[in-house]
Every structure is written in C-alpha cells, then in structure tokens.
Subunit: 340 residues, 2 copies
C-alpha cells in the first residue's frame, strides 16, 4: 500500500490548480492531507477535495512544514521565491513554471519519455512547457524508432495556457460580439483587450510568451531546448511558430519531422498505436482526426493526419492535440508526483 | 482612356462575388455594363453597383453574349459547365475555382508575380488558391532574391474561404454559445454543424478541401503545385498543413523557407519592403505583427515575425496574412482583369 503523502498546491485558485486538485482525486493519488495555497486575496475561500471543503491558505515561506510534495503552478516568480523554502522544509517540488526547467540540477520530465530522470532530483522537478510535452507524446516514440533529427512545427494554442483571466477574456469578447448582434465582418470589438495585447476572439496571435532579440518568442524556443533535455538528444533542432487561437483548453501542433532512418506511414502508425498516453485518430475518409474541442478534458493526447512529408526525405507530417491543462500541465505534474 | 468593358460576375451573391463588385467599384475598373449572374433562386434580386440597382439574372449558357470579361466564383462545377460557353461567346474568363488552375492552356496568375503570363491565355485565366496567393506575396520576392528551394507551411484559414454559409455557421455557433451563457469548458454545442463536419467555433479543423489517398488534403498540395506553376519553378517543394480556424475573413500562414543563397533577416526585410502589394509589419518590441483581424478588409497582404530559421541553413521563418476574399480571391481576379 502506498504511504500517504502530505500534498500542497501552490496556485490552487488558477486554471491549472483546479485541474491539479481534480487529477489528484481522479487518479487516487495517496493524499494524506491537502494544503491549498494562494495569494492573500484568496485566503479563507474554500475549494472541494473529495467532497470535503479545504480552506485556502495564504502562501508564505512557512507554508511547507510537514509537506511531502508541493505542486507549484503560480508563475515563474512565485516558483523562484517559494520553491527553495519548500525544499528546505523537506518537500519535493514539482514546478509547472519555466523557472527551473533548464537548470541542470532539476530534472525536466514527461513520465512517458524520461520517468527515470525523476530519481536524479535534488528537491525540484520541472514540468515542461505545454506545447513541448504534448508534441513529445507523439514525437518521442517516433524518435525511439526512427531517430528524429529536426522538426518544423506550428502551434494552435488555447487561451488556458495563459491562465484563468485569458479564458475569461475569450469568453467575454465572444459574448460581447454576440450580444451586440454584429455583422460577421465587424468582428473587431470596441472594448480593449486586457490580457492579450490584441483581441483574441475571431483572431489568431503569432505571439506566445515574450520576444527574444532573435525575433523568436521564448515559447518558440522551448520545443528545441526542453526537447533536447527531455529526450537526452542534444542535436535535436526545432523551428517553431507559436500562435494563440480562440480555443479554450486544448493545444494543437502541426509537425513535420525528419528522421535518420527510413520511415513510412504504416511503420509510424504501428509505433504510435503502442505509445502510452496517446490515441491515434487518423481516419480522414471518415473525417476523423484529432480536434481540440474533442480532446478537451481528456488525459490522453491524440495524433493523426499521418502522411509522408512532401519536402523532406525520411520525413513524416502529423498533427498532435492535447489538453493544455491536463497533459500540458496538471496531469503531467501529478504523474511526476506518482513517480516519486 | 481605357475602353469600357462589358463585365459579368458569375456567383454574384456569394461572399467572393460581393467583394468582386466592390473591387470593380473601388479600383475604377472601366465597367461599361455589369451583368450579375447567379442561380435561378437569386434571379430577380437586386445588388448595388456604383449606387445603381443591378438585377441578378439566372446563369445560363446564353448569358455571355457581348460580355468582354467574365469573373467566375461559383465553384468548380459551375466553372467547368459554363466557362467554355463564356469563351465561345467571346469573353475572357477569370476563374476563381480550382477547375482550370493546373490546365496547361490556362495561365495561373498572381499579377505581382507573373502578370506577363496573362498574355498567353486562350480564353480562361485561373485565379490561384487563396493560401497560395497570399503566401506567394511574400515568398516570391524572397525567391527572386535568394532562390527558394522548399517551404514548410501551416495555415490558419478563415471561414470565408468556404463561402457565405460557413461565415454564417461560425457566427451562428458563436451566438449560440454566448446566448446559452455556457461555461468556457462547455464550449461544445448541442447543435449539429451544417457546413463543416465539426463545430468551428472555439475549435480548429485540420481539414480544408477533400482528402487524397496520400493523407494530404487537396488544399495542402496547392501551394506546391500552384506555386511551381506561378513561380515557373518546377523544383519547388512544399510541405503544408492546412487548418481552418474560427476567424471570419483573413488567412494567416506560418512559413519556414529554405533558400539557395545565404539570407539574413536584414536582407529579407529590405526585399520585402520593396515588394508590391505587401506591407512589412514586424516590430515585436511594440507587439506589432500581422493579425487577421487587422488585415481583414485590406487590399495589401502583410508579412512579419521575420527570423532566421532554427532548423535549416539559409532558412527564414516568417508569418504572412492576407484577406482571403480580397488578395485570396476577388481582388486578385480584378487585378488579372486589369492586365487584359
């Protein structure tokens, strides 16, 4: 029988925090006690866990006494400020922010890819970028079989990746458009966006995370940087365009991947059908392919649109979709905690 | 002074037809008389041209007597059935469907790229696929300067590309969601989609046009096939994923392009800034990049997010946006008519 763990969630009131609570419940994680931590603003409010009220406490450096596992999802600044305190108090931190991902002393883990790296932790284990984690669910099994050299990828990222306020922004803008009974070609609203720099409803934004001097966004470099670390593949190259789309909670990624060994659609499908945590939905004749609205709320990611790449030898083009809040965040974090 | 032309529009009641009428007006095309043709269902209705009512007539094989230029935008079947009749009657057809694009006897023209091909026509000139035309507005100037070998491209295509009923479907689904005051994670509606196989509101569909046996859609092959013909570049390769997004009328395309000659962001920008019909919007520090909601209704396409490709030598990544109904359809057709 598993030993019961004292678990803390930092950022319990966020979009990912809510899914972390649900994942702990649904996966029957051996929770002894659950501590929900958030900012002072939320302290005193209650959330349900297994039918019981849990009172939210204010996050302080003294919050982690007796805590075994602390799941952080409150942004990089909070992680940098509070994760060391949690580690000092004896907790193992699973951090959903980008703060420690590229830190050599912190394993970066997708359990289906590199669960064994969890053992090397020195207190903090990092949860990868959502688009990277979802892409690797299909790319890594193909890499093991055929040896990936590089990918060209474009993302279609849901607003949940930006957090609860962004979800509300898409909902509010969509309602504003509908309630004003606007014509379709008057889709640009009068109200100013608050979370994104531009309206997200009826628009797509080629801007996720902040820009680097190279012209890439930080988000666009995560697939190459985090992919190399997670796959233990320092030569892996990734050319990525990250785009926010008016979808609520599942990310989609169009990938063209080049491999060292010859690949075929049939051989790739055979590999992907055996991959853990991944469904193959690839029956174009019946209009079946992964869709973010269908994958939303599901633990498994899905891959489809398998075809030989038109512009590369040994290239395969495919389409991966995963729930950003689950495999892209909360589920992967809880799976890491299960590896402990 | 230009000689006045007798102009017919076939498919006058469609989303593209409406824009054709507007483009003829706004560009002061020398219209002597305008004949608006549509199905029997629309015959007798009126549309405005330069403030005057024009009565819609039913399209028949006898509709083209005295017509100099016939702009077709009513689908491939109508074009195949009626374009030969228009040519027999002495008209030059500019056809927006895919029916004649790959026909060796029909020039396929983006005027900024290959206007001189118009002269070779034998009665029918084809208007290219919208995503291809918009992509070439940025790709062709780069090709002339640096010699493109191949591209990896992912599209974010507006519903206008499917026609007026698809526009109405996105609007109706968005209103249904808003009026039911649904939670954000209940974005899947009860109502069945009618135009697309799956709900388009709050979703993205990796399915544009019909599927081929290779696993590609016809739409995905157009950039390679039509791009080769328009650029006179038979070795051009294109690996494309075409995706429908809940945007009303402008297409976006994320492109990674490989060139024969060394390229730099600065050299590429200098070339693109001189390209006709194209604006460079590329100032990430000020959150400026092309957006479909901003480009909607504009004649010029826009390019931005210029950066050296991470996964190719001599590679450039960029983002092109263009109004699907204008440069992707009606505007390009009227520009072709202007070349006559």
């Amino acid at each position: 029988m598993s030993q019961l763990k004292q678990v803390a969630i930092v950022g319990a009131t966020g979009a990912v925090g809510a899914e972390m609570i649900r994942c702990l419940e649904e996966r029957n994680y051996p929770v002894g006690s659950l501590k929900l931590l958030a900012s002072a603003r939320s302290a005193g409010k209650k959330l349900k866990f297994k039918g019981e009220d849990v009172v939210i406490e204010e996050l302080t450096k003294d919050s982690f006494k007796g805590v075994d596992v602390a799941l952080f999802s409150a942004g990089g600044g909070i992680s940098r400020d509070f994760a060391p305190a949690a580690v000092s108090a004896g907790a193992v931190v699973v951090d959903n922010s980008s703060a420690f991902r590229m830190d050599d002393s912190c394993p970066l883990v997708v359990p289906e890819v590199n669960a064994e790296d969890v053992k090397k932790h020195q207190g903090i284990i990092a949860n990868p970028n959502c688009t990277t984690a979802i892409s690797l669910m299909a790319l890594y099994p193909l890499h093991k079989a055929f040896g990936v050299t590089r990918v060209f990828a474009s993302s279609y990222q849901a607003v949940s990746g930006t957090g609860a306020q962004a979800i509300e922004e898409l909902a509010r803008q969509s309602r504003e458009w509908a309630k004003q009974d606007r014509a379709w070609d008057a889709a640009k609203l009068d109200s100013k966006p608050q979370v994104y720099p531009w309206q997200i409803a009826f628009n797509v934004l080629p801007h996720v995370d902040s820009f680097l001097d190279t012209g890439y966004t930080k988000e666009e470099m995560k697939m190459e940087n985090e992919g190399r670390k997670i796959m233990h593949h320092p030569g892996f190259r990734a050319s990525v365009t990250c785009v926010r789309v008016p979808v609520f909670r599942a990310h989609s990624v169009a990938i063209s991947a080049e491999f060292e060994k010859p690949i075929s659609v049939e051989a790739a499908r055979a590999v992907l059908e055996k991959a853990p945590g991944l469904d193959v939905i690839d029956d174009p004749a019946n209009k079946l392919y992964p869709l973010p609205l269908e994958i939303a709320g599901k633990d498994n990611c899905a891959v489809g649109r398998l075809r030989m790449d038109c512009a590369m030898d040994n290239g395969l083009a495919f389409w991966v979709v995963g729930d950003q809040l689950l495999k892209g965040a909360a589920l992967n974090a809880v799976q890491i905690a299960e590896c402990l």
